[in-house]
Subunit: 219 residues, 2 copies
């Protein structure tokens, strides 16, 4: 069975991985005949109360420990994962992708990516293995490939401000509806807007399921 | 569109709602044409570190606030929800069902159910609206209906100890494989083992998707 790395960034849309996107990804991988290898960086995150939407100023949690909730405990520190163990890599979205895997949420196109995340993405790209990113996670890929001056195509849907930031980092941004995905065949790179555009869970699922199918097809 | 209440109990298999079961439920409801009404009790929970599996002795979190992660913030205190707003009710599993919605995890058949949970279940049963429970959540229903001396059938899969406890509380326990479900037509009650038996997410999904389809059919 092919092994697909799933990079998580916490557990909850406002401070971690978008939970629906992560679970739909895991289910699509399993139904597609692939084994998921869940991973996350071992760093702290700023907590957002998901009921009030406000930051819990006095509290931090650990990204790896919180991501373990989505993975039912079966998760590894991304620092210990090498591309040669994997056949493909996928990033669910959620603000955690833009706040914990990098600081795009606060710095925009001047962001910095977590060193182990950029190291693994570069290994995957160098090995010509397929890579997918959902929702806001293409911002992470944009920064890494842009810094490497690697021409590439991505989508985050149709949000102009975010699309502009991706173009500044070096991406060609392609508009895409929620139920579809964008492929960059040269880089084996796939992206879908998911909750950047989805109003309902089934809309996010449609694009994610197609993205995972394409990712597995590319292996 | 029919409205289906989804009773959450936190966010994570070891101290809250089983996340995969909850998301698969939400997706199946949306694809089945129903609106989910997420809810949870406004009480504290004991935190389990999902990486180590150990209890975090110095920390508590709030069930409603953590459940809001799964619901993307769109959630209500169960105390404010009445059966006449709903067409059906469903309980995902996870240890939270046995630790936060009741104390079955520590007390077994001598457990007590959270008063607002038992109040809403009794309203749904009295209104002859369909009710489903996944994984370990049938323990909650067993206690409520058993206390009311209401004869009923349920499954939690094939775990003998748990099945015995359910029978002690007043249920007729029916063994069931993970990809299927048990229906009690007299009480419009549906149950499926999900992660009581599932070894992979697709196995849990098969039974949950069938359960949700049956629940919507019964409305």
């Amino acid at each position: 069975m092919p092994k697909v790395g799933v990079v998580l960034s916490g557990c909850g849309v406002y401070d971690g991985s978008e939970i629906h996107e992560a679970v739909i990804t895991l289910l699509a991988l399993d139904r597609g005949g692939a084994d998921a290898v869940c991973m996350a960086p071992n760093i702290d995150l700023t907590v957002v109360n998901h009921l009030s939407g406000e930051e819990a100023a006095d509290e931090t949690r650990n990204v790896l420990i919180e991501s373990a909730r989505i993975a039912r405990g079966d998760i590894r520190d991304i620092a210990d994962v090498r591309a040669d163990e994997l056949d493909a890599l996928i990033f669910p979205g959620g603000f955690g992708a833009a706040k914990n895997l990098c600081d795009f949420a606060s710095k925009g196109s001047d962001c910095t990516v977590h060193s182990e995340v950029s190291r693994l993405v570069r290994e995957i790209i160098a090995a010509k293995k397929p890579l997918a990113a959902l929702c806001i996670a293409p911002a992470v890929i944009s920064k890494i490939l842009g810094d490497d001056k690697l021409a590439h195509k991505l989508t985050i849907g149709n949000d102009e401000g975010t699309a502009d930031a991706l173009e500044q980092m070096g991406s060609e941004h392609v508009e895409c509806p929620v139920g579809n995905f964008v492929v960059d065949p040269a880089n084996k790179l796939i992206s879908t807007p998911a909750y950047m555009l989805a109003g309902r869970i089934r809309e996010a699922a449609e694009g994610i399921e197609k993205t995972v199918a394409e990712l597995l097809e590319m292996i």
